[in-house]
């Protein structure tokens, strides 16, 4: 299966949907900061992996696929849910990459903060893609 980048899909998303995600993402980052300040880094760190915009993203995917199918005269309700389910399955695999990101930050950020952030990002992407590839082989 070939991975494709289709920027034309971005036109399907309306301006207020982008705004909604921006506000939700910003608000969740503020809340994560407030939680860390109030309850300390152990609790605060948990919320760095909180599914903040997941509900909004899944709802958008379902809506866009349903609308596209219905425009083509096909029943779209089930296809919309299936597309959102596929996205969720991908997120489950990507979560292992996020755990790798946390591991690198934990082990490396004290001795080398800049390198820790770079390597953590690389570890996230590498582990996420590897998990996705392994899932396809199984």
């Amino acid at each position: 299966m070939i991975v494709k980048f289709k920027p034309s899909v971005l036109r399907q998303t309306r301006w207020y949907e982008y705004l909604f995600r921006f506000v939700l993402g910003g608000a969740m980052t503020v809340i994560a900061g407030l939680i860390a300040a109030r309850f300390g880094p152990v609790i605060g760190g948990l919320f760095l992996a909180f599914p903040a915009i997941f509900p909004a993203s899944a709802t958008l995917i379902e809506k866009h696929v349903r609308e596209r199918k219905e425009k083509a005269g096909l029943p779209g309700a089930r296809r919309g849910k299936e597309a959102a389910a596929l996205d969720a399955a991908g997120a489950a695999l990507g979560s292992f990459g996020l755990a790798a990101f946390g591991l690198v930050i934990w082990l490396m950020i004290v001795p080398s903060p800049a390198w820790a952030l770079v390597l953590a990002a690389v570890a996230w992407l590498a582990v996420a893609i590897l998990a996705w590839q392994v899932r396809r082989w199984l």
Binding site: M1, V3, K4, F5, K6, P7, V9, L10, Y18, F22, V23, L24, G25, G26, M28, T29, V30, A32, G33, A36, P41, V42, I43, G45, L46, F47, L48, A49, F50, P51, I53, F54, P55, A58, T59, K81, A84, L86, A88, A89, G90, A91, A92, G94, S95, L98, A99, F101, G102, L103, I105, W106, I109, V110, P113, L117, A120, A121, W124, R135
Partner: protein
């Protein structure tokens, strides 16, 4: 106040950028990887580093591993609720938040004693 303004801006930009990038990717299962992108983490850690120092950020990174495993359980639950029970996306993602809280706080209590 400025710190939280910066957090809002950095978080909003990071989350929107990762989400838009994921939107444009196909197949959908691959795009889903970006649903678990470290967008909030990147925005938070950059500011935490300058405000509270690296040791604080290191503990956050350690806890983040438990949060990420909770996110895996959450996403898998959402997938099952959508495919097997045919719930709407909004309902499935809201119901599954319970799973995230149980796994995240359960793992954290077991491994780090929520100290």
């Amino acid at each position: 106040m400025l710190e939280y303004g910066l957090r809002f801006l950095a978080g909003g930009i990071a989350v929107s950028a990762f989400a838009a990038f994921g939107d444009a990717l196909r197949p959908k299962s691959f795009a889903g990887l970006f649903g678990a992108a470290p967008s909030i983490a990147v925005a938070t850690l950059l500011i935490t580093l300058s405000q509270k120092g690296a040791p604080f950020a290191a503990v956050e990174g350690r806890s983040m591993m438990a949060g990420a495993l909770a996110l895996a359980a959450y996403s898998w639950t959402v997938c099952v609720l959508l495919k097997k029970l045919l719930m709407s996306s909004w309902t499935a993602t809201m119901v599954a938040l319970f799973v995230w809280f149980v796994v995240a706080f359960g793992l954290s209590a077991a491994l780090f004693q929520l100290s």
